[in-house]
């Protein structure tokens, strides 16, 4: 595991190495040393490819007629045997490698499709948080005084909201908000949008702190003295130097969003069925696992846990690689 375990003595003697290395080299070599992060990155690439290619993967081996040709709807399809009876709660076997659920749907194809939704929730929320947090944090950090004050008071307020209770209210009412278009009410977009709106606060704080310290740095003073506009200073000089914490925090938000969506799905306020998400599947699987139908919980839950774990490891590796001095997670 990575950490700052070495004494300052070593840091002192280590400083003597005088090979010219670029920031990128340094970043890359540190990241590569983090074996879990590299492994996780590989895993995530595979999962993403599978999720993107989900429509191609939906024919369960041995099942001749039900799925191929209508791949996109297949995750919602109820499976029947030749005699017309539903395949309900079938344990994993040749034609259903992951078994079927209590509505006679193929768990494998649902896990593959569930990845699309869960990953999308993570990515969309992460993007929204990155954009909102960076904008608010940059403005607050670059324009001290009343702008900063009011923005940070607002941020404190958002951070002060009890996350899950508020997310539950919004998740419950989202489909009933009449002014929203349908795609925003149900499904992935609405949930991601809501989570993004609730989670940007911590990043805004981090970005603000970063801007506050960077705007006093010599190179920014120099740019200002050279007559650079505020916009140029923000985008060319400060923002690139503030990227590390933004990237790391966004990674953490991605994993948090996937977990939160799962929790909301469990309570019935997440992405609405029949759209499968890992969280939703694990939630309904959790209800029947007690009756012995373990496959309805285990496969979706492992996919979810492994993916979130991978994202967290990548976040950890990035933090170590981008900023080795910052090892304590402060609020």
């Amino acid at each position: 595991m990575p950490d700052s375990g070495r004494s300052d003595l070593i840091d002192a003697v280590e400083g003597l190495a005088i090979e010219p290395v670029t920031q990128w080299d340094l970043f890359w070599s540190r990241l590569r040393r983090h074996r879990f992060a590299m492994l996780s990155a590989g895993f995530l690439v595979v999962v993403t490819i599978i999720a993107l290619a989900a429509p191609l993967f939906t024919c369960p081996p041995g099942d001749a007629n039900q799925f191929c040709g209508r791949p996109l709807e297949s995750f919602a399809e109820q499976l029947k045997d030749p005699a017309g009876r539903l395949y309900v709660n079938i344990a994993p076997r040749g034609d259903f490698p992951f078994g079927t659920d209590e509505l006679a749907r193929d768990v494998l194809s649902r896990v593959v499709h569930g990845g699309r939704a869960s990953l999308l929730v993570g990515v969309l929320t992460g993007l929204l948080v990155a954009v909102l947090g960076t904008i608010v944090g940059s403005i607050a950090g670059y324009y001290p005084g009343p702008v900063d004050q009011s923005l940070m008071r607002f941020t404190d307020l958002v951070l002060g909201l009890p996350l899950l209770p508020v997310a539950i209210v919004v998740g419950r009412l989202l489909p009933e908000l009449e002014f929203l278009p349908r795609w925003a009410k149900e499904g992935v977009w609405g949930i991601s949008f809501m989570l993004g709106l609730l989670l940007w606060g911590s990043l805004a704080r981090i970005v603000r702190a970063e801007f506050l310290s960077l705007r006093e740095k010599e190179f920014v003073e120099a740019a200002r003295a050279a007559g650079a506009t505020d916009r140029r200073i923000i985008f060319r000089h400060i923002l690139p130097n503030a990227m590390s914490p933004i990237i790391v925090q966004t990674t953490l938000i991605v994993s948090l969003a996937i977990i939160l969506e799962a929790a909301l799905s469990f309570l019935g306020f997440g992405v609405r069925p029949p759209i499968p998400t890992w969280g939703g599947m694990a939630a309904s699987g959790a209800g029947v696992a007690v009756r012995g139908f373990w496959w309805e919980l285990v496969f979706s839950a492992s996919a979810l846990i492994m993916t979130v774990l991978a994202v967290n490891y990548i976040g950890d590796g990035l933090r170590d690689a981008l900023d080795p001095t910052q090892t304590i997670e402060r609020r």
Partner: protein
């Protein structure tokens, strides 16, 4: 210090006001009426206009909000039996002020003062509790369950028990775990702890809860025939007829699994944080000084390192209170725990907004108070902190 607390309280009140506005108007925007569920019932549906008027649901949203706010803030019952509870609370106030007026320049005094104040207040509240009948109005539940205040306080005890147990487990396990990991950095145990922490906070709490139910209750009983833990409720049906120790055992058997479900995630967080903070302290200059003095390693770690490394965790715990409450909402519905979380989910499904509002506000108040306590505690532990 007093000025600081007052300022924090004012700011907390503003946050709570904002919270109430956000949630109230979200519910309004949802458009669903709490009376909708009566619509399908032919005998009840003609009551809808009457009830709508009774609850003021036909009024503009802003007026409904103000009505709610007034009822939320107004005192319903306030009766004091005798003078003694007032004396108890009054002497707690006097002690608090006195303790701050008296200045003793000794290391132990700071800690003693803080803990004695907490102790005196607990004592006074415990004494006064049964002797003061107090309730706010908080309006009525739309589902006819009675006054919201009574609903919340009926459920709060259960959630408090669950949350306190979870927090205690998390602190008792998480902090020593992190410290030990830091002391044995890079050891197998350290690696194991880190892997455990990552795995745990990558898992949604409901999966942890169901997993514990399956492993420690269902399969354990199936394989060994021993019924160690219960998976539903707070007590067994025969609780009332049990002896004291049997009652205690029964409580523990019911409490363990739900509390552990919540605690595991907190353990992961605390141990990671404690490990990092301990490592930072272990590499600090003052620790080198302590070693150079010739202190035994144990004294160096216990007196000089741990005392410093424990300070930042106070902040983490105060933030995590919200997480524990969130965890309780989910865990309660899995373990059939009759707490605020279950009340909340029920109210959400029925759009019973006085209850929704009250629960959100109660949680918000709890968080504000915990944050203030954490700030004060931080000041007690770290002499450098000044409240300005």
């Amino acid at each position: 210090m007093l000025a600081y607390i007052v300022r924090r309280l004012v700011y907390g009140a503003v946050t709570l006001l904002a919270l109430s506005i956000v949630v109230f108007f979200l519910i309004q925007a949802g458009g669903g009426s709490p009376l909708d569920r009566l619509r399908g019932n032919p005998r009840m549906s003609n009551l809808i206009p009457v009830l709508t008027e009774h609850f003021g649901l036909d009024k503009p949203a802003i007026q409904q909000y103000l009505t709610w706010l007034r009822s939320f803030l107004s005192v319903d019952r306030f009766e004091v039996s005798g003078i003694s509870p007032l004396v108890a609370l009054g002497s707690a106030v006097v002690y608090t002020i006195g303790a701050f007026v008296i200045t003793v320049k000794r290391t132990w005094w700071r800690s003693f003062r803080a803990f004695s104040i907490v102790f005196v207040w607990l004592l006074a509240i415990w004494f006064a509790k049964g002797r003061i009948d107090f309730s706010l109005n908080w309006s009525q539940s739309f589902r006819g369950d009675g006054p919201v205040w009574d609903l919340i306080f009926g459920a709060a005890g259960a959630t408090f028990r669950l949350g306190l147990a979870a927090l205690t487990i998390a602190l008792i396990v998480g902090i020593p775990l992190g410290i030990y990991q830091a002391i044995r950095q890079y050891s197998f145990f350290d690696q194991l702890g880190t892997t455990f922490a990552f795995a745990t906070y990558s898992t949604p709490i409901f999966i942890i809860a169901v997993g514990l139910q399956l492993l420690l209750a269902l399969y354990l009983e199936r394989w060994t025939g021993v019924k160690l833990f219960y998976v539903a409720g707070m007590t067994s049906t025969n609780y009332a007829v049990l002896g004291f120790w049997a009652q205690l055992g029964d409580i523990v058997q019911h409490l363990t699994l739900p509390a552990m479900s919540i605690a595991l995630i907190s353990i992961a967080q605390y141990s990671r944080f404690q490990r990092a903070s301990m490592l930072e302290v272990m590499h600090s200059d003052y620790l080198r000084t302590a070693k150079a003095k010739g202190l035994p390693r144990r004294r160096v770690i216990v007196k000089h390192a741990m005392r410093n490394a424990l300070i930042p965790i106070v902040t983490l715990v105060s933030i995590d209170i919200a997480g524990i409450i969130g965890g309780a909402i989910i865990t309660e519905s899995i373990f059939g725990w009759p707490g605020v979380g279950r009340l909340y989910i029920g109210a959400i499904n029925a759009v019973d907004y006085p209850v929704i509002m009250a629960v959100v506000m109660a949680i918000g108040i709890g968080i504000v108070i915990m944050n203030i306590i954490a700030d004060i505690l931080y000041g007690v532990l770290d002499p450098r902190v000044r409240y300005e």
